[in-house]
Symmetry: none
DNA sequence: ATCCCGAACCAATTTGCAAGTGGTTCGGTG
DNA sequence: CACCGAACCACTTGCAAATTGGTTCGGGAT
């Protein structure tokens, strides 16, 4: 007898019995299968043959395994890093801007609908503060407070938490110089004007206008960031500051282009 | 001059020696101070006096302490309320759905632009799995995997992290029954069809169509959730149970099979 | 009486260790 | 050559002990 597959002698047997087990609804409610050693003994085959069968099932997506944990039914649950530091390492300023462009216009729209008059008063005061702020540090603080107040006024605690998360990443010390350069000069005045427009739209309950104004504002911020990142500095290079973001961003920039 | 503070006899002594220690740069590179018991012995005072001195330093912001951890130099690191449990307590299903309605259409649009062919293949396979899944648990798993794969394909790690955060909150065990009821019955088939439409749009690189299809899908999901929440106890357990007029007090109209 | 110290206890955290699990390699057996 | 049993490695989990800040209590000095 010529067997074309040399490794399918008892592994196929194991595979069959395993499929039978899985379909037999023996583990209907169970998420976790017995350990390989036990399972092998139950089926009556060796552990090696069992593992070959499990590999097939894993490739099919019917089970997933993890060393030290066990073998489980269903698709592999996706891992998720919630650590802020980890996230800051894995992202870069342009990604953050993209996220802001998705979230903050929605926040402005919601704020236009749900903001209390108290919220609007606070926004107006903050806008003045932002406009009259002289130093870069102050501008950044007031600007951050302004955006966050809009996020608060939107009245969705989960969205607010997301905004805070993004904002903390944005304020990462590594990108501090970058932000200062992107904000310097005449852009600041345009930003102040755009802030006024957003707040006016919110105050007049014009949801669509608020969303539009916020998107316009963030698009300009994004543009400024891009300019600073792509055509920067003849001097005052700080290698440490630039190294980490540049490597990450260049990689992603390629993805943008494709 | 009489001493107005009766509790400053040896605590002040401890405070002086502590300040000396901190300024002496003895712990220059160190972030962590010795345990209170050791430190008290070193300075030569009692633990109680030491703790009073430490309280002052903590109030000044020069150190921070945490039970079980130790005493550390510098300001207390900012506590990030990104804790999932805390967040789950403060939000509710409708907020989560609103957030999904803001984020996932954007993810679908981005995925239509950036998805690799491998991504699209995975999406197609997942759609089949979701459609052919029989039990509620399986449907939920495959559905979650499908939505997450779209989020992955969008190619923005920060947005993906946000999606994961929202998804974990959504999958909170407290809302499990709610989700099962919202998914039951004929809605599942519509969902499958809507999934196909989203994936088809992504595969054909129609960004706007993908965004629109995803928004339509989530709006239906939201509507289902609303129905389940506002018209509780569908009582579709068995036909026999249903005709019992026990629920006469419920003036809500019973959902007929439409 | 007041204040301080030492000791003991409580609560939160970290650490160390053992058990359990998948991943791998080895020699033995037919 | 295929298979098995065994042993070992790598990773995870769970638990108990040790560590540490937080608190209370009794004794003693002033």
């Amino acid at each position: 007898m010529s067997n074309p597959d040399p490794s399918a002698d008892s592994s196929n047997l194991a595979l069959g019995r395993l499929r039978a087990l899985l379909d037999d609804s023996s583990f209907e409610g169970e998420q976790r299968l017995p350990p390989e050693r036990v399972l092998a003994a139950q089926i009556g085959i060796g552990r090696r043959a069992l593992r070959r069968a499990l590999e097939v099932l894993e490739a099919e997506g019917r089970i997933w395994r993890h060393q030290g944990k066990g073998t489980f039914l269903g698709p592999r649950p996706a891992h998720s890093p919630t650590s802020l530091e980890e996230l800051t390492k894995r992202t870069h300023p342009l990604e953050v801007m993209d996220v802001r462009l998705e979230i903050e216009p929605a926040l402005a729209r919601l704020a236009a609908v749900r903001a209390t008059n108290g919220d609007i008063e606070r926004l107006l005061r903050l806008a003045e503060k932002t406009a009259s702020s002289s130093d870069a540090d102050g501008r950044e603080l007031w600007d951050s407070a302004l955006h966050r107040t809009i996020a608060e006024a939107a009245g969705n605690s989960l969205l607010l938490a997301i905004f805070d998360m993004v904002d903390r990443i944005r304020q990462d010390t590594t990108w501090r110089l970058l932000r200062e350069r992107a904000r310097s000069g005449e852009r600041q005045q345009i930003y102040v004007e755009q802030h006024r427009r957003v707040i006016a739209a919110i105050a007049q309950r014009e949801a669509h206008a608020a969303e539009h104004a916020m998107r316009e504002h963030l698009e300009l911020v994004r543009e400024g960031l891009l300019k600073v990142m792509t055509a920067p500095l003849p001097d005052q290079v700080d290698g440490q500051m630039l190294k980490a973001p540049v490597t990450a961003s260049t990689k992603k920039e390629i993805r943008h282009g494709t």
